[in-house]
Symmetry: C2
Subunit: 321 residues, 2 copies
Amino acid sequence: MFYAMRHDLARVEERLREESNVDYPVVGDIVENLIESGGKRLRPLLLLLAARPFNYDIDELVAAAAGVELLHNASLIHDDTVDHADVRRGQPTLNSVLPPETVILLGDYLFARSAMLAAATMNPRVVGVFASTLAKICDGQLSEVFNAHKLDQSIDQYKQRIYGKTASLFAGSAEMGAIIGQAPGDKIEAMRDFGGNIGMAFQIVDDVLDLRESTDSIGKPAGLDLRQGTVTLPTMLFIQRSGQNGHNAELVQRVIDGDSATDADFDHAVEVIRDSGALEESITIAEDYVEKAQAIIKDLPPGDSVEMLEALAMDSLSRTF
Amino acid sequence: MFYAMRHDLARVEERLREESNVDYPVVGDIVENLIESGGKRLRPLLLLLAARPFNYDIDELVAAAAGVELLHNASLIHDDTVDHADVRRGQPTLNSVLPPETVILLGDYLFARSAMLAAATMNPRVVGVFASTLAKICDGQLSEVFNAHKLDQSIDQYKQRIYGKTASLFAGSAEMGAIIGQAPGDKIEAMRDFGGNIGMAFQIVDDVLDLRESTDSIGKPAGLDLRQGTVTLPTMLFIQRSGQNGHNAELVQRVIDGDSATDADFDHAVEVIRDSGALEESITIAEDYVEKAQAIIKDLPPGDSVEMLEALAMDSLSRTF
């Protein structure tokens, strides 16, 4: 589907590899491994596609696209440290093989390198979006930490949190692409909204997968959010349906509190949420975001860019890991 | 001495306070406390002074000056987490009152806000210097972590490390000031060198104070570097003098290794380094840097800016805490 993008994406990969080519050898090797281990490059792809209907400088675009991918990776590193996660994408995290102090500094170093890539665009507006996106990501992650183990949160609070943590980088990537493409103001705004909506869908699906899939298929422990006291949409919908009363609601409450829950309690809580229909309801909400995203790009001139943006929106729903 | 700068510095303070005025209340309060607790604002002062002989836009200058101070604070937060430090400037560190995951994210958040301040200058060159300075700081800190507990380091390696960790932000601050001041290329270069040299002096003095002063006067535990296995200039000079042999050199070696050293060993090691003349020799090296810095600004047109830059250079030697 994204065949037309392969050349530009290859340039982004090359630029990312250059970033791992640093003076300090130990750091260089670790960064290189991290970058090579991949992921789907969704954010660079979105950035490239958002510029494509317009008139862009490819060097500027490639630098920004590499920048958002590196920012994403830096953010994952600190996130894994915060979550004490040992496994991601089926691989051991840095966190599980290096002392935490080294991991913090490596994450900082990658933030710095990603900011250098944004700066390399020499475009002050791009840099502004980049920096404020980073602030939103941190804000969302902080909000998650401060709201852990609490069930008295509204769905709006959840949405605000995942917007910061995840959707803001999708929104920012699309916005940067459109800015570099010198799109008119309303189109920049539209691309930003498009990105934000698919980012929301992406995170909701992620939260569903955390509860739905087995450990093997998602490459990290199943039900991890619940085990960490992170309250996500399916859990909130489950509690709404069961009215905070009843035996199962009490179990989920206890599991979120975390104090006296056993492993069997966690497994059982995952099961009752799965069986309640809350996962399907969550997916419906994710689908609404994708529909909003698709409606937004309907106004763009038809062409393969729009088709690919539509496909990217659909992809945020259909992934299985 | 810096009376002429009080208005501009007050604007920097105001801008820093605005940064603590964030939507997310918990973070806002913590950031505000942190910023209010002060420090000497050396980096903003240097940035302001580096622009002063030239032709600058004050808003751009104030944003950049607030940015370097916030970057410095963000860096201290992660540094304290890395060092497991409980006290700084005589106050408990964030690290000692908040869980480490929260501290990591708060540091990230402040990095983001500092990058937003740099971006607010709308000056791509300033942003480029800002981002690459952050990368150098992380690189220097990583180097310190990777070289802990090792005595087989050259003084050049030490200098490279403290340049990254500390002097690069002094160099970058002065460079950004001169860029915003639209100084000619050679003057930008000169300001950068000036900043780098006083940054080197500043860090060497810091490393001397760590060994020379009592816990009360420096607001953190005396001999902390040694206790953490961080090898600094005085320790290196001490080892050079004692030829890696003899009873005292063996003691210092053991203390750096850290495995079997007792508290009494640490106290004794601090004492033998103090008594060896290595602290005085280190100060002489710091003085050389200050002389280099002063020689650099001799070429600038005379005036109160040059006088204040000279005073700032001297200050890096004379501080007692």
